[in-house]
Structures are given as C-alpha cells and as structure tokens.
Symmetry: C2
Subunit: 210 residues, 2 copies
C-alpha cells in the first residue's frame, strides 16, 4: 500500500501521518458500478482516492436522481467527513464510475489527526473548499443553463474523468443523471450528431468535437 500512498499523497502529507495512514488504513479495490455508499447509511470510514473516479449522486423523495460531481485521485468525500463528525446519515449516494482504488481510514482517526497534523488539517479544509466549489458549479449549471448546455457539459466531464472520448451509456442512463427524460436526451443527442459534434451508436457514443 505504501507505494500507492506515496504516489498520490506523498507530496502533501507529513511523514508521521503517512506512517499512521499506512498502519490503520486498508487498501480497497472496487469495480466500475460498485456502490460505495447509499443515502441513509451511517459511515464508519473515510475514503482517500488513489486511482479511478467516484460519482456522487443526490436523490429526491420520488427517486429522481441527479449527478452532483466526481471524486478523483487525491480527493476525499467531504460529505463523509461531515457525516462522521456530526454522526448523521449520508445525504448522498456514491458509485464507482470506473474501477477504483482507495484507502479506507477509520473515522476515529480523523479528529485525532486534525489536532495533530497540520498537513491533515490543510487537506481536510482543502477538501471542503473544493467540494463547496464543485457544488456551486453544479448549482450554476442547473440554475442558469438549459438542458442542451448541461448535456454538453455532462459529456465533456464524463469524457474527462473516464479519460476516453467514448461514452458507454444508454440515453436512459444519461437522462437519469441529468434528471431529465430519455426522449429529451435522445432528441438533444441527435441534434448534436447532426451538428457533427458527436457520433451515436447503440449503447455508446463518441465525442468528435464539443
């Protein structure tokens, strides 16, 4: 585990902290689609991402979903932290977007390290910072953009975290994450194809130029 840890966090954590993480953390590998957290769960450990990506989703009372953002290498889930400290339930769902490696830290260590290690405090504050800004961005897109722009932004972001210009999802799946309907997404995708920006296939699409 030490090797992975070094690569992703070596530059930001102090040596003492690295050693502690190495001792109490457990390396975990999960496949694409693996559900790491469900709404209403109590959380007992906190993830540090080594590789891959995790998508964070929000759901309303009627089961309608909405993609909030992705977590990537070197990041952690601020929601988890707030849950742990506040001893409250998860407000979100977390699903592996790609095959993902992460280190799980027992919650108990969190507060201890916050008092003990400056680099940990900075990391935690930085996570909150990043997350708040991601949430603001998501909110902007929803409040100020129409569906066509949101779709384009979604495709770009998805291509980025998956490091591929092929997006392997059905229109229905895309519709879920954008909280829209299949018909609307099909319509807009077709329009993008006619503009020469993407190429549609069964079960996947290719981004040509967005």
């Amino acid at each position: 585990m030490l090797k992975e840890l070094q690569e992703s966090y070596g530059k930001i954590f102090e040596e003492g902290l690295m050693n502690e993480i190495n001792q109490v953390g457990t390396l975990k590998e999960v496949p694409e689609g693996f559900k790491l957290m469900e709404i209403g769960d109590y959380i007992k450990s906190m993830p540090l991402l080594i590789s891959g990506a995790i998508k964070i989703l929000r759901e309303d009372g009627d089961g309608d979903e909405l993609l909030l953002y992705y977590l990537e290498r070197g990041e952690t889930c601020s929601m988890t932290m707030t849950c742990c400290m506040g001893d409250s339930k998860s407000e979100i769902r977390a699903i592996a977007e790609t095959d993902t490696k992460l280190i799980m830290i027992p919650v108990a260590k969190m507060e201890e390290w916050t008092a003990k290690y400056k680099s940990w405090r900075n990391f935690v504050f930085d996570s909150y910072h990043t997350r708040l800004n991601e949430l603001l961005n998501t909110l902007d897109t929803i409040a100020f953009s129409k569906m066509d722009e949101r779709l384009i932004a979604y495709l770009k972001e998805k291509a980025r975290v998956n490091k591929s210009n092929s997006i392997h999802n059905t229109h229905q799946e895309i519709a879920y994450e954008l909280h829209s309907s299949r018909v609307v997404i099909s319509r807009l995708l077709k329009k993008l194809e006619r503009m020469g920006k993407i190429e549609l296939h069964r079960n996947y699409l290719k981004i040509l130029a967005l």
Copy 2:
C-alpha cells in the same frame, strides 16, 4: 462586546478562545441592505453573527441572481473560510437581510485557533457541515421543485429569518432572488392570494397560512 459574545457563543467556545476573540475581534453593526461582500472580493476577515441575518447570493455571467441561503446568529460564512485559506476570491455576494450585528475576526487567527482550540475546530467543521447541507437543500429545491413550490418555500424561509409575516419586497425583487421573471412571480402570488394563503399589497405582502 463581551456580553454579545457570551450570549451567542458562550456555550460553544472555551474560555481561552473567548478571551482571544474579545481581544482581536471588532464588533460591527450594519443596516438592512448593507453589502458585506461582493463576488470577486478578497477577504481579510471572517464574520461571527451575533444577531440579524445575512443573505448569500450567487450570480452567473449575465448578472442573473439566485438566493443560496441565509446566515443567522451563531453562524459564520464557510465560503469566507475557504477563500481565506485558499487565498482565492469570493464566489458569492453577501447582503444584510436585516439590521445585523457581527464580530469580525482577522483571517490570520483562523489557522492558529484551529490548531489550538478544539471548540474552534468543532465550530469550523460544524459550519462546513451546515453549509454543505444548506447548499444541498437549495440544489434540491431548484432541481426537483417547480416555481410555485419554490416560491412558497422562499416566502416561508423569508418570514422565518425576518421573524415577521409581512414580507416587504416588490414582486421584481422576489423574482431576482428566485432567478425568475416578475410576471411569473406576480402570477403565482395572485394564485396564492386567490387560495387565501397570502394577502397582496403594494410593496409588501402578508402571509396568512402557507
């Protein structure tokens, strides 16, 4: 200042911390409508609310506004904290919703206290926690609710923070904060009046039963 401090924060901060706040903080009173922070500002001090309420607004590139949430007694602005630590610009605008009393703390103290006082750490984490949840709620409302529900929620919340069932705003002002148009808001308000839930007047309205 010590008196105000005691009333709002006496129960949560350690004595040593209270003394420090008393020494480096400055009491500030601002009238309703006072702009405390503008998008793009660099922040050099952090507010602790004593009384009143502050509304936090987001704006897109075209000048369209959106109300995010209110800060109230005993709370602070997480955005400010992230800005200070990350040394970045403000992403939001802050305007006093009512006459407001607050204590301003120089940014420099923040990190020092985080290492030194457990109660301060808890306060800061708790603020992040509350703010993340408020943002999620706002996002829910926008993503999953229609304008009529959003309007009702808005009126209720506004009545709550103002501690009054009279809301002194023009339809235009309400429209701005909900990122809608005056005509739409007038239409929906009229509908609420016809349902006997509110009473409309020039420049203000009264909530009867929501």
